[in-house]
């Protein structure tokens, strides 16, 4: 073979690759370029994390539990300064998002993937859902403002109590709904056709096929998508400001699972971070407090993501 290619250029390439004498300069350059890209991303992330971690050490090492249990205060040196109101608010919002966006979003995805006929109308709907996932979050805040606070349609403000935890939660549930539909839809599409046909083959109805084959198989994917969307919701600040999240001082401090928190004023971790960052112009110590709040928020989001990974692994084992 090699002798027949003796005049060919490829012979040199093959020889070089076998003997390793000549260096594939372009290939190496490309590889180095790709590595540089990755390194740059990691470096940016590292700089961000290191700065935040460095700034937050004072608050988090000297008064960790006080900081977790504290409230919004007017001065950064206050003993009672802390983030518990933000944590509670963010957890309530996560619960509302889970209760509203997950069932509706997964249900919508199951209908679109399994039941809806494939025609122009459904593909039009799918395109729109994808567009909705790309709409800036502030726009959802405006929607929440019109719908839940000003009650321009259906008088929904009576239900939510205006500037309340419920308004914030519902707004963010609407925000992540398209993401839930898309990620769930993709997980459902990845289910092998053979599984469906097998279920039909043993006489299952459509509902039985979906319940016993499709959903369990797609569960890890659906779960990953939904929990990641939850992490997105927990990190949003802009829409919450529009629906009346409190930036200055939150009077009431109901316990974590007191339902009265639902129609009361609220704040959330990203709001606390925004507010303290703004106040750092007046009182420099707030910059450190904001950094500490960022660490708390990162920890919360990482916790959620690792929960998603753990659950996914568990499901995948079962599926295998």
């Amino acid at each position: 073979m090699i002798s027949r290619l003796s005049d060919d250029k490829s012979r040199a390439a093959i020889a070089a690759s076998i003997e390793g004498r000549r260096v594939d300069a372009r290939g190496l350059l490309f590889r180095a370029l790709l590595q540089a890209c990755l390194l740059m991303t990691l470096a940016l992330l590292a700089v961000l994390l290191i700065t935040v971690a460095f700034d937050s050490t004072e608050q988090l090492t000297t008064r960790f539990w006080d900081f977790l249990g504290g409230t919004l205060r007017s001065q950064s040196g206050d003993d009672k300064l802390g983030v518990h109101q933000g944590i509670y608010g963010s957890m309530w919002i996560a619960i509302i998002v889970a209760l509203l966006a997950f069932p509706v979003g997964i249900g919508g995805a199951v209908y679109l993937e399994e039941y809806a006929p494939r025609n122009r109308f459904t593909s039009f709907i799918e395109v729109n859902i994808r567009n909705l996932a790309g709409v800036p979050s502030v726009v959802y805040g405006l929607l929440g403002l019109a719908l839940l606070l000003n009650g321009q349609i259906f008088g929904l403000d009576r239900l939510t109590g205006g500037r309340s935890t419920l308004s914030g939660g519902i707004t963010l549930a609407i925000l992540v709904l398209p993401i839930v539909v898309i990620t769930s839809g993709e997980a459902l599409r990845a289910v092998p056709t053979a599984l469906r046909e097998g279920a039909y083959g043993v006489g299952a109805t459509k509902w039985e096929m979906i319940r016993t084959q499709v959903l369990p198989y797609a569960a890890p994917g659906i779960l990953t998508g939904t929990l990641l969307s939850m992490a997105r919701a927990v990190g949003e600040a802009a829409p919450l400001i529009l629906v009346g999240a409190v930036t200055g001082r939150l009077g009431d401090n109901p316990g974590l699972f007191e339902l009265s928190a639902l129609d009361d004023r609220f704040t959330a971790l990203p709001i606390v971070i925004t507010s303290w960052t703004q106040q750092s112009g007046r009182d420099t110590g707030f910059a450190a407090a904001a950094a500490a709040a960022i660490v708390v928020l990162l920890a919360l989001v990482l916790l959620m993501n690792s929960a998603a990974i753990l659950l996914r692994n568990r499901f995948e084992k079962k599926r295998g």
């Binding site: 959903l215 007191e258 004023r265 007046r282 420099t284």
Partner: protein, 382 residues
Amino acid sequence: MRGHGRRRAAMVVSAVVVSLSLLAAACGDDDDEDTEATTAETGNSGGGEAADDDAATDDTDDDTDDDTDGGDAAAATTVAPMTETEAEMSPVSGEVDISGSSTVEPISIRVAELFEDVAPDVSVTVDGPGTGDGFKLFCAGETDISDASRQIKDSEKEDCFANGINNIVELKVGVDGIAVMTNADNTAVDCLSFGQLFDLIGPDGEGASTWAQASAGLPDAPLDIFGPGEESGTFDSFIEIVLEDLAEEAGVEATTRTDYSPSGDDNVILQGIQSSDTSLGWVGFAFAVNAAGVKLLDVDGGDGCVTPTPETIASNEYPISRDLWIYVNADKAANNPAVVAYVDFYVSEALDQAVSEVGYVPLTQQAHAETAQRWNTRSLIN
């Protein structure tokens, strides 16, 4: 069948998040009735307010008399020890909802924090979307008190009246002053006019590296400017008070030049001023007044040079000062003892402490007494 069972188990696990939430809901079941009751009440009060308008106004009159007596008693013993106030206020409970200017916000929060020690059962919520947004909420009847870094506009007043919010008490609570500074060794400049400040710090000063280049007639010395960054309220205030009108006349954007050294940290600004003999900068007055190595410049706002002192700022003689206000919905106060107790405390001696702690200039004694008087007599705006 075993496989089927496993999948079923998987589905059960998949509901973990949902069931956790349900558990949470179940835990709170005891509170359910209370919550519903509260919601119902809220709904009713929303509808009933307009109808009860006359009655409410009458109530105000009655309450005003009662409170005036109490207020006078308090005013008579202005230096009353804290314990007496405590005994007077401890049974009060309820909610106070405040929104408005982010400049005044820290004062209202600080007062609320001090008030917390006196009346722990009163829950005060303070928000700072801005003076205009605050009035929108206030005139829609959503807040009890509105913080403002300017007086209410006629259009806003009409908006309030149109919504049946006729009884509004306007209270001056403090003064925001901005000091213009140079190095203590700079003897060439003592006083700057608004026009000169606009030349030096406004957008037209961009690129000017000496005082003379920026504004003819000033010394030919290097110009090093230090000031707060855009995120700072002092930055906005300086633009609003000093630069805005002149920028409009000159037909340029109302902002500062971009080639100065901004900092969010007032200490850094002061260090900058100290570092250069011919520096120029501005910070909140309360921060600059006691600093070493800096000289506070007089400012001419059109009526001659005025030296910044707590007195000239409190009296608005010093031109880079503005009054800070709160607006109280008197009808809401009449129906909510928590609001009355909070504002009583606000206009008491706690005010000066709160105002200076968050970096503003307290009112003069006379102005403070006037504020207390206005509140105690429920002097309404019209």
